[in-house]
């Protein structure tokens, strides 16, 4: 969402935008109307020869030198005075530290809490200290009209104040490579009470510590948790998997490899990926958190979605098993049995294609079932797009294990 009324930084910028765009529109209309009028009035069909040889006018030229000078100087001054409002942080602002990296954000609060979204209380000025661990990025929140580059080796800042609760986009506005357009997150403006509740230490067992760390540090900006491959390898079901390394050779994923891959990521890169992940040393991820992340990745802790969402119940309650069997029999729809290890022939845009069933395909099959239909079955399944993201995740993970 990019609109929020009456917040102080947006107002400062909008004042200037309206003033300059307003003037510009008047000038453009004037220039265009006069030009068109002159072209019609003095067209050669009516005036075979010029009716004047006037080649200059000191008075006119002085006027149209001085007048624009005055106008642009007011624009300059108005732009500058409002700019100072963007730079002067009001007293009593809550200070948050934002770390930008390819291609995610981490926000750290004075009490040490970290998050991948910027949670803020409504009605309180927020000062965000900006740092970068790798290349230039830029913190851009259109709803607040604020933007500032994050520069490695230098600290910059912005401030804003949310006037209403809501979720407001944050973009990276300084080009930073292949994931630039995906480096988005949001400002989550909460009421005083909701923010206080959010600040309370999270009850353990709600979200596994390892997952929480990965969310805070922005790991999931590049590494998916559901098997879909992007700019970095997915972290879905890693335990015991074998991977080829870019330097040659093969590795079996275990706790030791994962720890090395976090502390010194570019030493043993999985083949097909660029060595671009920043290293996470003890200052950013302490040994306990490292252990928690590794445990989580190797499936030694229960996935948080599993206890909360009963995927099997979801399938039953939503009528899925009316068509899809659990026991291998197939009538009007493919069976769930053995889904995770199956190769199927699908029809996409009238072309046949053989694919392996994976998380990305299942997600698509749930949300947009008739786009890539398994050959031999009718296009009758309704989309499951009314389910929440968490429910879809739970279903995908459950189905892959069938």
């Amino acid at each position: 969402m990019n609109a929020l009324a009456n917040n102080p930084t947006a107002q400062a910028v909008d004042n200037v935008l309206i003033y300059i765009f307003g003037f510009s529109l008047i000038l453009l209309l004037g220039i265009t109307v006069v030009t068109v009028w002159l072209v019609i009035k003095y067209h050669r069909s009516k005036h075979p020869e010029p009716t004047s040889e006037v080649s200059h006018s000191i008075l006119l030229e002085t006027i149209w030198t001085l007048l624009p000078t005055l106008i642009v100087l007011t624009m300059f001054w108005y732009g500058w005075t409002n700019y100072t409002g963007l730079r002067e942080v009001p007293e009593g602002a809550l200070e948050v530290k934002a770390t930008a990296r390819m291609w995610s954000w981490t926000f750290e609060y004075p009490d040490g809490q970290r998050a991948s979204k910027l949670y803020v209380p409504v009605g309180k000025p927020i000062k965000v200290q900006l740092i970068s661990t790798d290349v230039l990025h830029s913190f851009f929140a259109p709803a607040f009209r604020i933007k500032r580059d994050t520069v490695p080796g230098m600290e910059t800042y912005i401030w804003f104040e949310a006037t209403e609760p809501g979720s407001y986009d944050i973009f990276c506005a300084e080009y930073c490579g292949v994931g630039h357009a995906d480096m988005t997150t949001s400002i989550e403006a909460l009421n005083e009470a909701d923010f206080a509740a959010w600040q309370q230490p999270k009850a353990t067992g709600g979200e596994a510590r390892g997952l929480a760390v990965m969310n805070e540090l922005g790991c999931v900006g590049c590494h998916s948790l559901d098997g879909s491959e992007g700019i970095a390898p997915s972290l879905f079901q890693l335990a015991g998997q074998k991977r080829n390394l870019a330097s040659g050779g093969e590795i079996t994923i275990n706790a030791e490899y994962l720890k090395r891959a976090i502390r010194d990521p570019n030493a043993e890169v999985v083949a097909g990926y660029d060595p671009m992940m920043p290293a996470y040393d003890e200052n950013t991820m302490n040994d306990a958190d490292l252990q928690a992340v590794v445990d989580y990745l190797l499936g030694k802790v229960q996935k948080p979605v599993a206890p909360k969402i009963d995927a099997r119940a979801l399938l039953e309650n939503n009528g899925c098993i009316g068509c899809h069997s659990n026991d291998g029999s197939e009538s009007i729809a493919p069976t769930f049995k053995g889904l995770g290890s199956r190769q199927v022939t699908i029809i996409r845009d009238n072309e046949e294609k053989t694919i392996k069933v994976d998380a990305a395909y299942l997600r698509q099959a749930l949300l947009n079932p008739n786009k890539e239909l398994v050959k031999g079955f009718p296009a009758i399944m309704p989309s499951a797009d009314y389910l929440s993201d968490e429910e879809i995740d739970a279903l995908v993970q459950y189905l892959l294990q069938q």
Binding site: L17, I31, V39, H43, E49, S57, F140, Y175
Partner: protein, 540 residues
């Protein structure tokens, strides 16, 4: 009707025959034609890349290419358009073709250096194209080569930067040549007050080329050193500074936008008086404002950096200077329009492109005011508003001036006239398509869509689709214009020496001009460049 016979004049007369007669020619007209051929080719290549970018953005998510390909595409589009098309477009091609004749000279001051400049251009072009297909893949830094990304990416940045370095040399040498030529080789009677405005703008441009381009060369060499030897100049961890790079880069690259626009303004200042049959209004204001733009334009580079982390004091100073540079541009627009007053206006194709230039450039310039104002720029910076804005000045401005120059001067150099009706239709398509494309980009930028985005949020979809739709109209217009011009050059009706009834010197000599331009007797100038009394247009 037309007959297809070979061209006469400088096309035929040459000490050497065949291809070597071109590749080793030091004649300014032949070098100009060679530039024109290369530049139009490069333009068409980069247009295709631009259309691919727009097609990718027709919907959120991947459509025709992956993110890495997309990043390389906009980078190469920018590098080709900036360094291989816009910067040399009017000065190197039309400057070489027209400027010596307009001042009554038989060639430039240093004809061999002129040929060397062309070879540097060609070498630069070949290296730039090689950079796409060799090494670690096409460069993906954007044409701005911002560090630290450009020092870290594994793509072929070194070769692309070296290509731009070579092109810079081509530009510097052309600048030296033009400054000297305009000072030393004016014909008898061709005082500074009788110089056509096109020559004045080339003169201002040449000074920027000579003074600012070395900065680019140095900066790009530093990037190569940083990448190859880890020099650390731009690395904060070793006492360097990434923002220093931005200063160095823009110290050249902002004046460079005036290298791009000033010669275009010169073309417009030739075309409008001719087709209004009236002297250009405010000759001295026009001439001096070109110098003022060149001078003040060299002092505004850091207005690209308000959000970079630079000090607030620098923002204050550069915002002020930026508004100062708007004034001479405004004067130019008012003077062009005043020239129309009580004239005898003919809407021939060059005139239509010039009127479109005024409209487009006005929008570009006014958008620049919003970007120059400190507070407004904080929101607009690095959004697609900026992309729309500089396309309004560079394409809507310089591009349309280039089209005006093609329609105005090609008949002089081929001795043949293109069809006017298709030229008018092509102009209308270009004008409409252009405005749909880039106005939508400006609008979606105001909504907050950052630039160089491969993917975008659903709320930006409609305007992106409109922009892509506009780019197709633009493409049809371009095809139509170039086909029409090509057919006109091949087999159009023969024209006399002065089809438009213009008063500058190039219209006093045959079309196409002979090798020595003026025959045995040196020209003597006895009237101003826009004195149309007694000048009659030849029928064609």
């Amino acid at each position: 009707m037309s007959q297809t016979s070979t061209y006469t004049g400088f096309w035929k007369e040459s000490p050497r025959s065949g291809i070597l007669g071109w590749l080793l020619s030091t004649d300014h007209k032949r070098i100009g034609i060679m530039y024109l051929g290369c530049i139009v080719t490069m333009f068409l290549v980069a247009v295709c890349l631009g259309l691919a970018i727009r097609l990718e953005l027709i919907a959120p998510g991947p459509t025709i290419m992956g993110p890495q390909t997309y990043n390389a595409t906009f980078t190469v589009h920018g590098i080709i358009m900036i360094f291989l098309f816009i910067i040399p477009s009017i000065p190197a091609a039309f400057g070489n073709l027209i400027m010596p004749i307009q001042i009554g000279a038989r060639d430039v001051s240093f004809p061999k250096l002129n040929l060397l400049s062309w070879y540097f251009y060609v070498i630069g072009a070949i290296l730039a194209l090689l950079a796409i297909f060799s090494g670690g893949g096409a460069p993906d830094t954007g044409w701005t080569f911002y560090v630290p990304f450009s020092t870290q990416t594994t793509t072929n940045v070194n070769l692309a930067a070296f290509a731009a370095f070579m092109l810079g040399f081509s530009s510097i040498l052309t600048g030296i040549n033009f400054v000297t030529t305009i000072h030393r080789l004016r014909a008898e009677g061709m005082g500074w007050g009788r110089l056509p405005l096109f020559v004045w703008t080339l003169y201002a441009t040449a000074w920027i080329q000579v003074l600012a381009t070395p900065m680019l060369g140095i900066t790009l060499v530093l990037v190569i050193l940083e990448r190859t030897f880890g020099a650390g100049l731009f690395d904060a961890a070793r006492g360097g500074d990434p923002i220093l790079f931005q200063h160095l880069f823009w110290i050249y690259s902002h004046p460079a936008v005036y290298i791009m626009i000033l010669p275009g303004m010169g073309v417009i200042s030739e075309v409008i008086p001719t087709f209004a049959r009236k002297p250009l209004f405010g000759y001295w204001a026009m001439a001096l404002s070109s110098l003022a733009i060149a001078f003040a334009g060299s002092l505004v580079w850091a207005h690209h950096m308000y959000a970079s982390g630079m000090s607030d004091f620098a923002v204050l100073v550069f915002s002020f200077l930026t508004f100062i540079v708007a004034i001479p541009s405004a004067i130019k627009i008012f003077n062009w329009i005043s020239t129309l007053y009580k004239g005898s206006i003919q809407l021939a194709p060059p005139m239509l492109h010039s009127l479109a230039f005024i409209f487009n450039f006005a929008i570009g310039g006014l958008g620049g005011l919003a970007l120059g104002a400190a507070a407004a720029d904080i929101h607009l910076h690095d959004t697609t508003f900026v992309v729309g804005h500089f396309h309004y000045t560079m394409f809507g401005g310089t591009g349309f001036a280039f089209f005006a120059a093609l329609h105005y001067w090609l008949p002089k150099f081929t001795g043949r006239m293109y069809q006017h009706k298709p030229a008018l239709v092509a102009w209308a398509l270009l004008f409409v398509g252009f405005n749909i494309t880039y106005m939508s980009m400006q609008a979606v930028g105001i909504q907050g869509m950052p630039r160089r985005y491969y993917d975008y949020l659903p709320e930006f979809t409609t305007l992106n689709q409109v922009a892509t739709f506009g780019s197709w109209i633009l493409a049809v217009g371009l095809v139509m214009m170039f086909v029409n011009l090509f057919l006109g050059c091949r087999a159009g009706d023969p024209v006399g020496k002065n089809p438009w009834g213009a008063a500058t010197l190039e219209w006093d000599i045959p079309s196409p001009p002979p090798m020595d331009n003026f025959g045995p007797k040196d020209p003597v100038v006895s009237k101003g460049p826009y004195d149309y009394k007694g000048v009659v247009a030849d029928e064609y």
